[in-house]
């Protein structure tokens, strides 16, 4: 008997293979998102997936057999906001890279979180511009030698979760591809959460990051995630020095706040 992968039913016919390099963490993320939808027994036709430009933009598009909007670099949240305002009944999910969402698109991220618009943003953070050849990103670790920082990166990396939390998001979590189960749990939570939900996923780029920086292949990078991560609970008892270079994984924010499209609907009703 030939077994069929239970998530293959969500893969667009013809898109038989992921668009990413061997061992790229983005494939693990794609699977975690599809598994969350499957476990929640949601209909993928009720979703609109929006992505920008970069390797991570290929996670949903064209791979997911659903409505996908592959937009311009940095702008998926802007497009997704339009989709959500026009069709508040749809589940709008942005999946894109760290450069896309936090560098060129950083302002959209901040304001979508501030507005608490009902969408889920999943950021594939590989700490680099993968697609264009491994240039430094605002998420690149301090000191790392990249294509554009041959003497080591002199800038500090953005803490994206802290940024989105400060801007007012309802749900914030961080995982790595090593934590595929925790990630799936968080995606399920995010998809059913009212308001803006954000999940940062440290996702290995074995080609532009691992190989060029000497960190190693996909296996070495995932082992690194395993060794360097600790739970939110554990992290709470450690000081800044002890937390240096550690990845804090788990749920960081889960709260209830007014959601933008519902607030707009209230105003509309008053003036009807």
């Amino acid at each position: 008997m030939k077994l069929v992968h239970p998530l293959m039913k969500y893969v667009r016919p013809g898109a038989i293979s992921t668009a990413t390099c061997a061992g790229c963490g983005d494939g693990i993320m794609a699977q975690a998102v599809l598994r969350a939808i499957d476990e929640l027994e949601l209909n993928i036709d009720d979703f609109v997936f929006v992505s920008g430009i970069g390797c991570a933009g290929w996670i949903p598009s064209p791979f997911f057999n659903a409505d996908t909007l592959h937009t311009t670099h940095g702008r998926p949240i802007a497009f997704a906001s339009g989709v959500k305002l026009a069709r508040p009944d749809r589940k709008v999910v942005v999946i894109s890279g760290d450069g896309d969402l936090a560098a060129i698109g950083g302002n959209h991220l901040i304001h979508a979180a501030r507005r608490n618009i009902g969408m889920t943003v999943i950021c594939a953070n590989n700490g680099i511009y993968g697609m264009t050849g491994g240039q430094v990103a605002p998420t690149t670790p301090l000191g790392l030698k990249t294509t554009t920082t041959p003497y080591g990166n002199v800038e500090r990396a953005f803490d994206l979760c802290a940024l989105v939390e400060a801007a007012g998001a309802s749900y914030v979590a961080r995982w790595t591809t090593y934590h595929a189960r925790g990630l799936t749990r968080s995606v399920k939570k995010a998809l059913t959460k009212r308001g803006f939900s954000f999940i940062e996923v440290l996702s290995q780029c074995p080609v532009q990051y691992g190989r060029r920086t000497g960190v190693g292949n996909a296996v070495a990078m995932m082992k690194g995630y395993k060794e360097n991560s600790l739970s939110v609970k554990k992290a709470a008892s450690l000081n800044e020095e002890e937390l240096k270079n550690k990845i804090i994984v788990g749920e960081l924010v889960d709260k209830d706040s007014p959601e933008l499209t519902e607030e707009i609907e209230k105003v509309r009703r008053i003036h009807e």
């Binding site: 069929v4 992968h5 992921t18 061997a22 794609a30 292949n217 296996v219």
Partner: protein
Amino acid sequence: MIEIDEDLCKGCEICVAFCAKDVLEMSDKFNKKGVHPPLVVREEDCNLCGNCMLYCPDLAIVVAEEEESG
């Protein structure tokens, strides 16, 4: 049981590295993509934990409980 769709495999070795039971090994053969897919070599040791399936970035592995025959 475990099934590997060899032609979907990109040969990253993640499944082999993260199987705590050493069930999988990389093979010498080439698939359609020209890479070495893994081989199930110790199926009897598999505890159906599902890690290999969860971690395969290319959906090339399926792990399922054996269906009862008859």
